[in-house]
């Protein structure tokens, strides 16, 4: 005897509507990633926010101090120095990466064997550990014996101390960062360039546009979504990227005279050199919040990289 509630029908009906089933499947697919992000990124961020309210000595003692770490920050000249260095580093890195990445992409845009090799060469730094990259560059620019340091007097520039002079050290680490990252941004721009249909260039050719007019009126405007993405992630990379820490930590350690001490280097020093975990956590929280505010503002201003014609 069948006791089924559902009357017998020709087709097997699901208890869920087709739309709900799709919805559930979608969320099931992103669940593993979402969980991973939550546990390994969200939770630590939340904990560091909490940690910022404590005085932590690193040996198990936690003392609630409220906003004390934050007021300390406001009065800490080294924090402000690091914030300034971070801003300078970002102000140089973001535009340089944009220009270098796009220029390289335009140069190797045509697909042929030669350009394939060139593309791989520009991307090659990413195959190497950042520490190794920093060590090699340090060897190239170190005072007296570095290859570049020996070259500058020969070029009549005098003996420049690339890493020892507070006026040059930041430029040096910016240059190495650009060198390391530009191949990656070249790839992103190559993808963006390939997304621009060839017909627009043909139409522009018929309209009488030369290479420069095509770049200004076709390439650049149609690259807007890519540009938005590049500026956004290069900004994040400048403020909190692994290259910012590794290259600076290995090449200068934040010196000389704190001239290359970006915030993540200073935070690391406070936490692991001086054991001020609570203070470091408070600064990290400020860093993350200001980064979120910046990207959020950019997102709002550009409507998420979408444009008026869409």
């Amino acid at each position: 005897m069948s006791t089924s509630v559902r009357p017998k029908t020709k087709f097997r009906h699901s208890r869920l509507s087709a739309r709900n089933r799709e919805w559930i499947a979608g969320y099931l697919f992103v669940l593993p990633d979402a969980l991973g992000l939550l546990v390994f990124l969200g939770l630590p961020m939340l904990l560091s926010l909490v940690l910022g309210l404590y005085d932590v000595d690193g040996f198990g003692a936690y003392r609630f101090v409220g906003m004390a770490n934050y007021t300390k920050m406001m009065r800490d000249p080294l924090f402000w120095q690091s914030a300034k260095v971070t801003a300078l580093y970002a102000l140089m890195l973001v535009p340089l990466l944009y220009v270098c990445g796009l220029s390289l992409a335009l140069l190797v845009q045509k697909t042929n064997r030669f350009n394939g090799v060139i593309r791989s060469m520009f991307f090659a730094p990413h195959m190497v550990s950042l520490i190794v990259v920093a060590l090699v560059w340090q060897f190239l620019v170190v005072d007296k014996i570095g290859v570049l340091s020996r070259l500058t007097p020969a070029l009549g520039l005098g003996g420049i101390s690339f890493l020892g002079d507070p006026d040059y050290a930041l430029f040096t680490v910016v240059a190495v960062s650009v060198w390391f990252l530009m191949g990656y941004y070249m790839l992103i721009f190559l993808g963006g360039l390939q997304d621009i249909p060839a017909m627009y260039y043909e139409a522009a050719t018929m309209d009488g546009a030369g290479p420069i007019a095509k770049f200004w009126y076709i390439t650049l405007p149609l690259l807007k979504p890519t540009s938005f993405f590049v500026i956004m992630i290069s900004m994040v990379a400048a403020v909190a990227g692994s290259q910012a820490f590794d290259i600076i930590w290995v090449m200068t350690g934040g010196g000389p005279a704190n001239s290359t001490s970006v915030l993540i280097v200073y935070i690391y020093q406070q936490a692991f050199s001086f054991g001020a975990f609570g203070y470091a956590a408070a600064m990290a929280s400020i860093l993350v919040i200001s980064l979120m505010a910046m990207t959020g503002l950019m997102f709002l201003l550009t409507r998420g990289g979408r444009f008026s014609y869409e």
Partner: protein
């Protein structure tokens, strides 16, 4: 306005030759359509005229001047692309003004020209819209507007209607034709749609495999196709072909088809007879042909019949009462039968087409 001369044009990509020494002449003010199946080289030829493709061999002249090495912008031609290629980040007005802006034309003059073109095409109210906000037909008109503002000597169209739905295509066909009648600019138009070619062209150039098969007015091609390919390509529904041979003055074809002909007496080779669907009459029931499909379209009805291996399509005016499975007789209008050499596929000219209609019931 200008005359375009194409002489012995060859196009090679590496070792692959895709256009094999093609020659044609487009007269001043003429509307010429290049038509052929995909891959026949028609678009390549158009792009060589535009200057978007390098010419491997031969010359293209506009108004008597060889333009092989002249940059596209200096050829004084304008092109309408298949996907319109409207710049998505520019408004309709900016799209139309782009070439004028690049040529350094003043603002007032640019506005006048764009306004004028917009008026011709009925785009005045859309000038501030972006292409993404327009319908297919409107985009098509903007693409034409972009070509018109430049006041070129030659218009090139590369399958401009293939992205439109059937109804809009018919409407735009008429608009392009009336635009040409109004501006009288030399126009070269590429399509794979023979109906477009038939309805719009002053002359049609039929291409296949990188060669020109026939050049002529639409009705010339329809009435006297030079070979089997043109016969099958021009006209819809397509021409029926019947293989067979002459016995005395009677052509005997597959499916038991027979018809009188006064082909040159010496012709004894294998033949293909061609007959347009509207020149086939279906008789009363009881004939040797079986009705397979009946496709009514209102004003006329298309009937597919079969006998043995031979399938014929007949186009009957008005409505019919045939049903699939029914047997019918078939009558050919013998004055309208075309004969082709089965080996060379070339047309064989009749000596005299005035023959009485004899049928096989």
């Amino acid at each position: 306005m200008a005359r375009v001369e194409i002489e012995n044009i060859t196009k090679r990509y590496g070792h692959l030759e895709v256009v094999h020494g093609v020659s044609a002449c487009i007269e001043d003010g003429e509307f010429v359509i290049l038509v052929g199946p995909s891959g026949c080289g028609k678009s390549t030829l158009l792009r060589m005229i535009a200057g978007l493709e390098h010419i491997s061999d031969g010359t293209i002249s506009i108004d008597g001047e060889v333009v092989n090495d002249v940059a596209p912008k200096d050829r004084n031609i304008a092109m309408v692309f298949q996907n319109y290629a409207l710049y998505p980040h520019m408004t309709v007005a900016q799209n139309m003004a782009f070439s004028l802006k690049l040529s350094g034309l003043g603002k007032d003059e640019t506005r006048d020209k764009v306004g004028n073109a917009a008026r011709i095409l009925g785009l005045e109210k859309l000038l501030d819209r972006y292409p993404g906000q327009l319908s297919g037909g409107q985009r098509q008109r903007v693409a034409m507007g972009r070509a018109i503002v430049r006041d070129p000597e030659v218009f090139l169209f590369d399958e401009p209607l293939s992205n439109l739905d059937a109804k809009l295509r018919v409407q735009m066909r008429a608009e392009i034709k009336s635009l040409h009648q109004r501006l009288k600019t030399t126009t070269i138009y590429v399509t794979h749609d023979q109906v477009e070619a038939m309805t719009m062209a002053d002359r049609i150039v039929v291409m296949r495999d990188g060669l020109i098969e026939q050049v002529g007015s639409p009705l010339d091609l329809y009435d006297e196709p030079a070979n089997l390919f043109v016969a099958g390509f021009i006209g819809s529904p397509t021409m029926n072909f019947i293989e067979g041979a002459m016995e005395a003055d009677i052509f005997r074809g597959t499916g038991g088809i027979e018809c009188h002909s006064n082909l040159p007496a010496a012709f004894h080779g294998a033949l293909v007879a061609g007959i347009r669907p509207d020149k086939i009459k279906l008789g009363k029931s009881g004939g040797p042909f079986e009705v397979l499909v009946v496709e009514p379209t209102g004003a006329e009805t298309q009937v597919v019949v079969q006998s043995g291996d031979l399938q014929l399509v007949a186009l009957v005016q008005g409505r019919v009462t045939y049903r699939p499975g029914e047997s019918v007789g078939v009558t050919l209008d013998e004055t309208a039968v075309h004969f082709f050499d089965a080996r060379t596929e070339q047309r064989i000219e009749h000596l005299d087409r005035n023959l009485g209609s004899v049928s096989r019931q």
